[in-house]
């Protein structure tokens, strides 16, 4: 019996996401620190074939659930499949990537397996043989290191904390774990995935650069007039040319729900910060946004940060950004777009 079980799921194309591969690296790393073995369990369509693609990861055993019922993410079937894997493997430590699918079903699986669960883990360490996990509380305000004595212990790993595992494919020789699904567990039908109408303007985790637009874009400019259309063209032009992901401050999307004229392609989906998301990108460029703490906590995982703001005393200038340009974002972004061609 392995000491660690890593649970993965396949995507709709039957392959593993970047987050899944990263969690393999985390598992390999932890396993060597604990000096034990690990197994991998895979849920989803094509789980067996997918297991073969990571056959060289060092797992002592592979398990799969590839019933039709788990082809698409559904809580009731996912939770049952994940519980079955945890129970089958009998591992003390269960790791899984914190994907939307697992963030949804793993708490229930932990409950059914009589396990403890912690999520949004950003680091794992072993000190004097004790496994210690790091995670944020109060939305990236307070960083804690914690451990638990009780087992099994399920830990959902944040994306981006480790490079993706790379290794040889092979024959995983996965054991299929049989799971029976009752009608009561199939009351929910998956209809499919809907992309927002304006797919270019959403948060894209794979982009190297996050571009954040603040409420300043929709305020009166130096000439006393509003320039919503100009703002819109500049931002959309930039996103396209720089291949950037689009985020916004809360005040900008709040203006939207107040019915004020604003940037039509923005929604709460773009909101970064305390009540929004905490995306992970190598670089972030903030524009027309003051950089207050509730917004800046959403930048916790942005490595290089630059801001364009008219106020030399804005929050960004107080140690929250690496570089702050005191300038008119309309002028700067127009020129940037020109240079990007």
């Amino acid at each position: 019996m392995a000491d660690i079980l890593l649970v993965l799921h396949t995507g709709s194309d039957g392959s593993f996401s970047k987050g899944a591969l990263e969690s393999i690296a985390t598992t390999v790393d932890l396993s060597s620190k604990l000096g034990g073995s690990f197994a991998v369990g895979v849920i989803g369509a094509g789980a067996g074939a997918a297991a073969d693609t990571i056959a060289g990861c060092g797992a002592e055993k592979f398990y799969v659930v590839e019933d039709e019922a788990v082809a698409a993410p559904r809580y009731s079937s996912d939770v049952k499949a994940a519980t079955a894997l945890i129970q089958k493997a009998g591992a003390q430590i269960v790791l899984a990537p914190g994907s939307s699918r697992f963030a949804r079903c793993m708490p229930g699986a932990a409950y059914r397996a009589g396990a403890q669960i912690d999520t949004h883990i950003v680091a794992l360490a072993v000190e004097a043989g004790v496994l210690k996990a790091q995670r944020w509380y109060y939305r990236q305000r307070i960083l804690t290191t914690l451990s638990r004595a009780a087992r099994p212990w399920v830990l959902l790993i944040e994306g981006g904390i480790q490079p993706a595992w790379q290794g040889a494919a092979g024959v995983a020789d996965a054991e299929s774990v049989a799971v029976e699904f009752t009608d009561a567990e199939l009351r929910t039908t998956i209809k499919g995935i809907e992309s927002p109408a304006t797919d270019a303007q959403t948060i894209r985790p794979d982009a190297a650069l996050l571009f954040v637009a603040g409420a300043g874009w929709t305020k009166k400019q130096a000439d006393g007039a509003y320039h919503i259309r100009d703002a819109s063209n500049l931002i959309q032009g930039f996103l396209k040319k720089a291949g950037a992901s689009l985020g916004s401050s809360k005040s900008l999307v709040d203006l939207q729900s107040d019915g004020q004229e604003t940037l039509s392609f923005m929604s709460h989906m773009n909101q970064v910060g305390q009540t929004g998301t905490t995306p992970r990108h190598a670089k972030g460029l903030s524009t027309c946004c003051h950089g207050e703490e509730p917004h800046a906590v959403g930048w916790r995982f942005i490595n290089e940060r630059r801001a364009i703001n008219m106020d030399a005393n804005c929050g960004w200038a107080q140690g929250k950004a690496d570089v702050v340009y005191i300038a008119n974002a309309f002028e700067v972004i127009a020129k940037v777009n020109e240079l990007l061609g």
Partner: protein, 291 residues
């Protein structure tokens, strides 16, 4: 001036009628939500005998947890659309602080409060919190699981684990669960469709045969309702008694050993570039983006 004589007493009676009329078909929407520190407050961890806490925790101004608040507004909106429906708000928090919070929240939408007197701090174990909330939900008089939708935020702004709602659902035996919900539409036959946020700004669309279900909401699509004093007064008839009979609950950190809690110093040496032309700045930014 023409006045609309809708006095709260009538309104209250209307609510009581709704509650007692067992034959009326409608949803029982139970919203789980409590207070979190007002987002602009500065938070500092301190160590207490029962585990980590926040400095001046009892004094920090609080708000209803933002995602739970969205779910409350969505619940009220849904209840309005489905005749005979009723909204409950189940809150676990220190009684005195819940009371203060209710004076703001109760003005927003009609609901009946179920209060549990305990900590609302983020360092508690989700399993213990879920157990307490599930027990309180089970104890709601006249609870009918065939009409039950359990709402809440997809994560709190305090613990931010995103697991409590699923654990409540498990304890209540509800296996249809949705997390990161932005939209629900009910059909006449009681089935409903849901949009859940997934990776890459996309939505997972599902339909469910009907209640019971757990929906852990993201932002939804409704703005914060205005403060309506009449709604406030009507809610108060239930809020004060609920607070008075709130049972104490010992919710703790469970089996977590907190080794360390800190606000990491993350002050950067900011370089401020001013009195430079937009052209020069643009060139520097482009170089940085490409670099």
């Amino acid at each position: 001036m023409c006045s609309l004589a809708l006095v709260p007493a009538d309104y209250t009676q209307m609510k009581i009628n709704q509650m007692e009329n067992k034959t009326m078909e409608g949803l029982q929407i139970v919203v789980c939500g409590t207070l979190v520190p007002d987002p602009l407050q500065t938070l500092e961890p301190v160590t207490t005998p029962t585990g980590p806490g926040l400095k001046n925790e009892t004094m920090l101004p609080s708000v209803l947890d933002p995602w739970a608040a969205h779910s409350l507004y969505e619940a009220a909106n849904l209840a309005k659309k489905v005749p005979g429906s009723k909204v409950y708000l189940v809150s676990l928090g220190p009684k005195a602080k819940l009371q203060q919070l209710m004076m703001t929240v109760a003005q927003k939408v009609p609901f009946e409060l179920v209060a549990i007197d305990g900590t609302a701090g983020g360092f508690t174990d989700a399993m213990e919190v879920a157990k307490t909330l599930a027990t309180a939900i089970e104890a709601i008089p006249g609870l009918d699981k065939t009409r039950l939708l359990v709402f809440g935020g997809c994560a709190s702004a305090s613990r931010d684990a995103g697991v409590t709602m699923q654990l409540i659902g498990e304890q209540l035996g509800i296996t249809d669960q949705f997390v990161g919900v932005d939209e629900i539409s009910m059909s006449d036959d009681g089935s409903f469709s849901v949009l859940e946020r997934i990776e890459g700004g996309q939505y997972l669309a599902s339909t469910c045969a009907g209640a019971p279900a757990v929906l852990a909401w993201a932002t939804g699509s409704l703005p914060e309702p205005p403060n309506n004093p009449q709604v406030g007064m009507a809610n108060m008839r239930f809020v004060m008694p609920a607070l008075q009979k709130a049972q104490p609950a010992a919710v703790g950190v469970g089996g977590i050993n907190f080794e360390k809690s800190e606000v990491p110093a993350q002050k950067r040496a900011t370089r401020i570039v001013k009195d430079v032309s937009a052209d020069v700045i643009a060139a520097e930014i482009v170089e940085w983006i490409k670099g």
